[in-house]
Amino acid sequence: MAKIIVEVALKPEILDPQGQAVASALPRLGFTFATSVRQGKRFEIEVAGEVTPAMLADIEQAAQTLLSNPVIETYVVKVEA
């Protein structure tokens, strides 16, 4: 049983109110380390059996159409051990 991770992030030029909310909360709590925060999504997908190239192509496709919104987001697919 393998695990696929799809990370979805807002394109850098798109406003990220969620990340901003975190960025402005941090210093109020005394945390000064961050110069910027962006918030994205992370999908952990368990797949049965081996990860084949055909399956990866499918996952790419799903990441592009369902898991992310290409108008405002980008995605990365990663295969975990």
């Binding site: 109110p17 969620q18 909310a21 975190v22 909360a25 109020r28 709590l29 918030q39």
Partner: protein, 223 residues
């Protein structure tokens, strides 16, 4: 009888909660999130809304507000606190109540007239109800699904700390249809539905909500 209503940036139902307090016969005192001064109120309501936009987790940022320090401290000594919707979320984030409120199972914001049963009429905020009384008040939220681990659930049920339960069709996937709970002492109560929107039939589905506010006023007078 003074009851404080806290305004966080993004609070929405603060004026409604204040109106409910006044209608019940109390005096509503506005409290500001940025000040730890509780202005000598005898109880506090954390109202509904989207504090800080609720972009991270609902209530996650508000719980660090200066006013919360005072409230947490006072509550440990029996000071009555009612968290409604976003207020409930703040209370769980602040670990004043167990569990957490998560995304509704249907994944949508849901605004509906919700049937409920009062499971516990011994808390400071529900003492005016009959036990097992059935009421209808609005439910409106996107993250109202009450979740906790099995052990916590067993404890809440075992100690009778489930204050209000959903009746009829499950609105959001909450464990054991939990709509509201209290702390062990019964002074801190969190509710997902909105009693402050059911205080007159002109603008709400019923007047059932008013009893939450008259309950606390009677409790305080009795002291």
């Amino acid at each position: 009888m003074k009851i404080g209503v806290v305004t966080f940036p993004g609070s929405l139902d603060d004026r409604d909660a204040a109106r409910a307090v006044e209608r019940a016969g109390g005096i509503a005192v506005p409290l500001w999130h940025g000040s730890d001064d509780l202005k000598e109120v005898q109880a506090v309501i954390l109202p509904g809304g989207f504090s800080y936009g609720d972009y991270l987790r609902c209530g996650a940022i508000s719980r660090f507000a200066p006013v919360m320090k005072s409230i947490i401290l006072a509550a440990e000594h029996g000071f009555p606190v009612l968290g409604i919707c976003n207020g409930f979320q703040v209370l769980t984030e602040a670990h004043m109540l167990p569990g957490a409120l998560t995304r509704n199972q249907g994944l949508h914001f849901l605004c509906t007239d919700q049937k409920l049963r009062i499971e516990n009429n011994e808390s400071m905020w529900t003492s005016g109800f009959e036990k097992n009384e059935e009421i209808v008040i609005p439910l409106k939220n996107g993250e109202g699904s009450f979740q906790c681990d099995d052990e916590t659930l067993a404890m809440l049920e075992g100690e009778g700390r489930v204050v209000v339960r959903y009746l009829g069709q499950d609105p959001n996937g909450s464990r054991n249809l939990i709509a509201g709970i209290s702390n062990a002492r019964g002074n801190v109560v969190g509710l997902m539905p909105h009693p402050e929107h059911a205080i007159e039939t002109l603008t709400g589905p019923s007047e059932d909500g008013l009893t939450f506010f008259t309950s606390i006023l009677h409790q305080m007078v009795g002291r």
